[in-house]
Amino acid sequence: MLFNSIEFLFFFLPVTLVGFFALGAWAGHRFAIAWLVVASLFFYAWWNPVYLVLIGFSMLMNYGFGFFLSRSLHQRTDKRRALLIVSVALNLGLLGYFKYANFFVHNVNLALGSAFHLEHIVLPLGISFFTFTQIAYLVDAYRGEAREYNFLHYALFVTFFPHLIAGPILHHKEMMPQFGNRQIFSPRAANLAIGATIFFIGLFKKVVLADAFALHATPVFARAETGAALGFFEAWEGAWSYTFQLYFDFSGYSDMAVGLARMFGVRFPVNFNSPYRATNIIDFWRRWHITLSRFLRDYLYFALGGNRKGKVRRYVNLMLTMILGGAWHGAGWTFVAWGFLHGAYLVANHAWRSVVPWRGDHWTGRLLARSVTLLCVLVGWVFFRAETFHGALTMLRGMMNLPTALGGRFGRLQPLLESVGFQFSGGYVASQHYLLSVWLVFWLAIVWYWPNTQEWMRRYRPILEVASIRRDWPAWMAWAPTWGWAIITAGIAILGLLGLSAVTEFLYFQF
């Protein structure tokens, strides 16, 4: 079920909320939690009930491993370590089979000219997310940072529907203690008001903004796949549109998840924090898909040795982490390339830092740094979005295919530009192209200088880490439960609701 679907909004969500609070009031908290687990499994099974077997198996297995890891906390470490390795390997094996088997066989066939056949394996929804969530849990259990002996609670931790399909990737200790709070079992107008506001802001971003940008991005990328030569403005409009589409898609999704959890009185960790404001790539990864970055850092980068084994190993570890992180997003070489590119960006960023002391604290420096960072990110998104390498390269060629009128204007620089791939046959400049730059400046201003959802909601602890919220906005830029805000929020909600019936899929779903 999609968050932006009618069945979710008008059937699933109200029924789940009412059931949860009714059971919490009259039958006891255990029943309320059981209700939430059943509802979440129903939510998951909506696409295909067969998937229930898989997620059920995965939960049972990991609950068992976690049980033993927690029970044996004071026993010999080598046995526990072996148990952890086996359990993580089983999880990765499951993920690998469902996500990468087809890709692997395809590439083996390409490389060896062989003809191994494997039936098309359908990627079970959310497997990338619930696998990572549980791996983190196992490591936490191994370290003694998490412990769960109650299977019902464990099942809720894994399946709680706001995070089940597309994150955030939670730690057990972040969410489960909140269900120990008796207050969340009775409905609170505050949680419903704050949660609904955050949810509808997210819905608006998704169905009004992201879907509108998709209308501009999709045809350009589709044309690139056909190999047609793209003009300068067309290629850039496509690339920028996708850059904004993905931004509002993921931002909207994260908001909806945070808002939904809040309706149940639960706070989620921050997952998306105005990433395009980043002034360098390191900063970008602290703002984009934060819980994934955290996971990759804690459980992959550090496991590889992090930065403790010298500069070279550090850079190698960074590259490996990002390449695997790229592949996590999808089984395809374009995702690997995207990860590789970001790995290279990060290495360059760290190397630059160790050489150049300049921090660019003046606003012009920040603007420059922001622009360069965003351009690097945009080039990455071209690989992320394109279906094939060929399509991505066609897009990039189009972006380097400068307007025809510029040919001959660069003097002696022109041969140099041409030698690095620039062309001068990108079409003529028309008046609508000037409008494009206004459009671009407008949306850049929004993603750079407009408060994000956490900042609008800053007075009401919308997320767990309040420290990441900027607070120096004018007072009127703060939501409050007033008449005025009720009307504005309702306006945002109705704009989102009117966009519901042309449902489009979330981009992050397949990852």
Binding site: E7, A189, A190, P481, T482, A490, L497, L498
Partner: protein, 434 residues
């Protein structure tokens, strides 16, 4: 909290209650306002509560949403007889034709623009689940079998799923949202209100198109001559290969489109639905453009494939019903009707609107012929119009069409110029016949 004054948290629960009440009140009010507009205007004709000439009677968004609209009409009408096919069947085949047996009434015209064979299959299954079909007539088009285009935008399997429990109902509710509570519904309502002066875009209660629209269209375009040119030009330049298409292998296990056709006939046989498959009588000039584009061999192969599949289904034991394949295409007195010259915009053709669409009088001839069991009827102006195809006569039939074509080209050199004009205009459209 970092220097900012923190409001007393949930203590003032009343404030939040008031907030929620205002929030819900505004949302409900706004939604009601939107509904008031869309329900009254009803841009997709889904409920027909208000229908006032000059206000909302003409619905310019109807045909582009035919896949949505007709599914809901079917649910309302509960037909026992069904007409399927593309816009050709939509304007040409009459659901009120006298030949429809009583048991197969009411008849509904479920033809949709550019229908693909897979779509036809799903609409038949869906309608059958609603009301139990007795007889269907399919106006079959070559382009419905294009490998590259399985369905057109607006087609949804979920909407037509006859046995899905949840999804079926959800799909219906979602359609109601699309039709009444969406940006599309609002903008369609406004543009419906604004374009009442145009022409009668509406479906008749039996699902067919109001013929006045075609009439209006022909005058707008400047007569039949211009309409023919436009239709032929679209044929030759269109991306979805209306005349020349990607027609795959002649094997229904590999040619997915043929597979759908086979499934469709099997379904009819199994469910006891009489199925009359009528290959559309496109105008001779349309056939000539297929010929000129070099797609004739595929066109003939397609007919042979249809014959083979019909024969196969007829022989298969399961079920009992009439399955007949009729060919109305070719170069006969109907399809060869002369096109009025350019300088006679007011001249009206008897059988055709344009090169692609035949008139309802032509459709009546077809239905009379088919429902009459192919008896030679002296009242018919063209007894040779339409032949029932069998494995025995297909070779001779195709051969006859080829020789008729030679005669046609010789005797209609003026009309043929139309095709040449169009082809000369679009030299980039490649493979001309050698």
């Amino acid at each position: 909290m970092q220097g900012e004054r923190r409001l007393p948290a949930p203590r003032g629960n009343r404030r939040y209650r008031v907030f929620l009440a205002i929030f819900a009140g505004v949302v409900v009010t706004a939604a009601t306002a939107v509904l008031a507009l869309t329900v009254v205007v009803d841009p997709f004709g889904m409920i027909g509560l208000v229908e006032i000439e000059g206000f909302n009677a003409s619905k310019p968004h109807l045909f582009s949403n035919a896949r949505l609209v007709k599914a809901h009409y079917i649910r309302r009408v509960k037909p026992k007889g069904l007409i399927l096919g593309s816009s050709r069947a939509d304007v040409g085949l009459d659901a009120d034709h006298a030949g429809w047996p009583l048991a197969a009434r009411p008849v509904f015209n479920a033809a949709i623009p550019s229908a693909r064979i897979q779509e036809i299959y799903y609409y038949v299954r869906y309608a059958h689940a609603q009301s139990g079909l007795k007889r269907i007539v399919i106006g079959l088009d070559f382009f419905a079998f294009d490998e590259r285009i399985k369905a057109e935008p607006g087609f949804e399997v979920a909407r037509l799923d006859p046995d899905g429990f949840g999804p079926w109902r959800i799909a219906t509710i979602r359609d109601q949202f699309t039709a009444f509570l969406s940006y599309g519904a609002v903008s369609a309502s406004i543009s419906t209100l604004r374009s009442q002066d145009q022409y009668a875009v509406r479906y008749l209660p039996n699902g067919g198109q109001d013929p006045r629209r075609r009439e209006w269209n022909i005058s707008q375009k400047g007569g039949h001559h211009a309409a023919f040119l436009a239709a032929l030009r679209e044929t030759v330049t269109s991306r979805d290969g209306v005349a020349m298409l990607a027609y795959g292998p002649s094997d229904e296990t590999r040619n997915v489109e043929l597979g759908w056709f086979l499934e469709l006939l099997r379904f009819c046989k199994h469910e006891g639905i009489d199925a009359y498959v009528l290959i559309s009588p496109v105008h001779a000039l349309w056939l000539e453009s297929i010929w000129e584009l070099g797609a004739w061999p595929d066109y003939e192969r397609w007919k042979r494939d249809l014959v083979r599949i019909v024969d196969r289904v007829t022989r298969e034991a399961a079920g009992a019903s009439v399955i007949e394949l009729w060919d109305f295409s070719g170069f006969n007195t109907i399809t060869s009707e002369s096109v009025p010259p350019r300088d006679a915009p007011d001249a009206r053709m008897q059988w055709y609107w344009d090169a692609s669409h035949y008139k309802a009088v032509t459709g009546d001839l077809m239905l009379t012929r088919v429902f009459g069991g192919g008896r030679p009827d002296s009242a018919l102006p063209a007894s040779a119009f339409g032949i029932r195809l069998t494995p025995e006569n297909i070779d001779a039939h195709l051969h006859a069409i080829r020789s008729d074509r030679i005669q046609y080209v010789a005797s209609h050199s003026g009309d043929i110029l139309l095709v040449q004009t169009v082809l000369d205009d679009v030299p980039e459209r490649v493979p001309r016949r050698q």
